[in-house]
């Protein structure tokens, strides 16, 4: 699988001839281009290049960033914590809001709450993250002045750097899509479980509502949610390209956008590869958790 991704990245890289023409300025002379091509080894046979690239990549070497004059992977590693932080807060917000809205909607079908839940589901799908970020800045930073317009500021607590309110807007903007998805899925999962016989039994035994919800409904609707949350986390990671650009959040997405605009080729490649790596890893982990939670599912 990983080899496949490596191959795909390599293949795309060479699809358009070679990356050297993209890297040099438009005023470079042909001899300069040839020199750079030789320096970077793009003049060698393609299979040799692939082998080199493969062995280097497996050792964690993805080339050097031109702009920072550093190994590209180091830069990626530096930026990871900020992105993980942003994505986790966003995921937490989305679960909190989405699951609540979904339960409220699903347990009172066809009520006002239900239409609200479905409305938020649709909004999450139709409002682009990058636009939402801009609107939030206009409302909450420019007009109300509640939050900073950009950047990440932290305070120290028990020796850890914890972001302050500067994370609220970016995380919220990032979370809306996931909130909508979770609201929709929770709603339908709750609707489905509500009609199961064991819920009717629990009800007829006269169990309290809270107990029915926590023991029977939520527990059983949680199983499909796990895989959705796994998928959503990868959405959050990619969505961070927009949000981190808008809010100048010093994470991976910002690094990628910056590397793209400065044509820092190896950096783009390293960032894209790393993100794919994480996302594929997450899919595996989700499958495993899924298996642990629901004993009915066993993979061969």
């Amino acid at each position: 699988m990983l080899l496949g991704v490596l191959f795909l990245v390599f293949f795309l890289l060479h699809l358009t001839g070679d990356p050297v023409t993209l890297m040099v300025s438009r005023h470079a002379s042909p001899s300069e281009i040839a020199a750079l091509r030789q320096e970077l080894g793009f003049d060698r046979p393609i299979l040799v290049q692939f082998w080199d690239y493969l062995t280097n990549a497996l050792q964690g070497d993805f080339g050097h960033s031109f702009r920072y004059r550093q190994p590209a992977m180091n830069l990626v590693m530096e930026r990871i914590p900020a992105t993980i932080e942003l994505a986790s807060v966003a995921l937490f917000m989305a679960i909190l809001m989405g699951v609540t809205i979904g339960i409220l909607g699903g347990s009172n079908p066809n009520s006002i709450l239900d239409s609200l839940a479905r409305g938020i589901g649709l909004l999450g799908q139709t409002i682009p993250t990058f636009w939402l970020g801009l609107i939030l800045i206009i409302i909450f930073s420019v007009n109300l002045g509640w939050f900073p317009t950009y950047g990440r500021s932290t305070f120290e607590l028990f020796g850890l750097n914890i972001p302050d309110k500067s994370i609220v807007l970016p995380a919220f903007a990032l979370s809306l899509f996931t909130t909508g998805q979770l609201a929709r899925f929770t709603r339908s999962a709750v609707l489905e479980v509500m009609n199961e016989e064991y819920v009717t039994t629990a009800r007829s035994k006269g169990l309290r509502k809270i107990r029915i919800y926590s023991r029977y409904i939520l527990k059983n609707s949680a199983i499909p949610m796990i895989s959705i949350i796994g998928v959503q986390f990868s959405y959050l990671l990619s969505g961070s390209i927009y949000i981190e650009t808008i809010f100048s959040w010093p994470g991976l997405g910002n690094l990628l956008a910056e590397a793209v605009s400065t044509r820092d080729f190896f950096l783009v490649q390293a960032t894209a590869f790393f993100t794919s790596f994480v996302v594929i890893g997450l899919q595996l982990v989700t499958d495993l958790i899924y298996m642990l939670v629901d004993p009915r599912i066993r993979y061969r």
């Binding site: 990245v9 358009t16 993209l22 682009p128 794919s276």
Partner: protein, 317 residues
Amino acid sequence: MIKMKNHQKENINPESTGLLVDLEEDRSIRARLYYIWRLLWRDKAGLIGLIVFLIIIIAAISAPLLAPHDPLQQNLIASRQPPFWAEGGSFEHLLGTDNLGRDILSRIIYGARVSIMVGFLGVSIAFSLGMVIGLIAGYKGGRIENVIMTLSNMVLSLPYLVFVVFVAAILGRSLLNVILIFGFTNIPIFVRVTRGEVLRLREEGYIEAAMSIGQKTPAIIFKHIMPNLLGPLITLATFEMSAMIFYEAGLGFLGLSVPPTIPSWGNMLAEGRQYLTYFPWMSIYPGLAIVLTGFGINLFGDWLRDVLDPRMRRMKK
């Protein structure tokens, strides 16, 4: 000889399938249109979606007629005007002007062209190629199927946005590139859906019947499998189209879509972002256009899915 062949053909088709006979009944275009209209009228959300979608398509097609100004014409004296209802706005520029004095409303109307074009052409590429490849995978099976499915699962497991940004960064900014990127990166989704449907259809009784009376493979594919594929694929196509319009705007926002000289919603947002604090209308209205489009297509797509796939309809109730 030739005559006999014709005769045979005529003999086999209508009677063996028993379908054409039903179709000959009142299925004039008018009756069909009326039926569709009744289905739309019953589900108001779908109707609203279709209307919004049509408005945007019309805006895209007849942009030169509808736009009050030339979208590219700069007018520095009239630059940075707010929309007409705000202080300092005028009816000359209904939604105001940008930092170079270009009319925002006209730019939004012209921007619809890029979005609709990328959406339509991108989906057409993905739809046609995806369907053919999916048919091959599902119908042929064996090693070809394995190779095709491994490849498409690989692409599908990548984070889509990162993948597209990466490819767009390599290829450079042009309308054709954007269309090709979205067209080709969307093939695997269509392959997967097509193959799934083909596998399901192959188990159906009427396909087996067609096979057992010795119909040729192309005939089975074109007459029996393809018509049944269209429903799910068209539904998928509408959702993919709205996704492509979103991603195109997103790429534009990152400066990776069409060149900055072409007015597109994403490019407008990217420019507006620099003036966000002082001239927020520059980024509010192009974004609203994207939201409206997504809203329309999604509502319409939901309706299409319910109508084309009765199984989904039952699940919803």
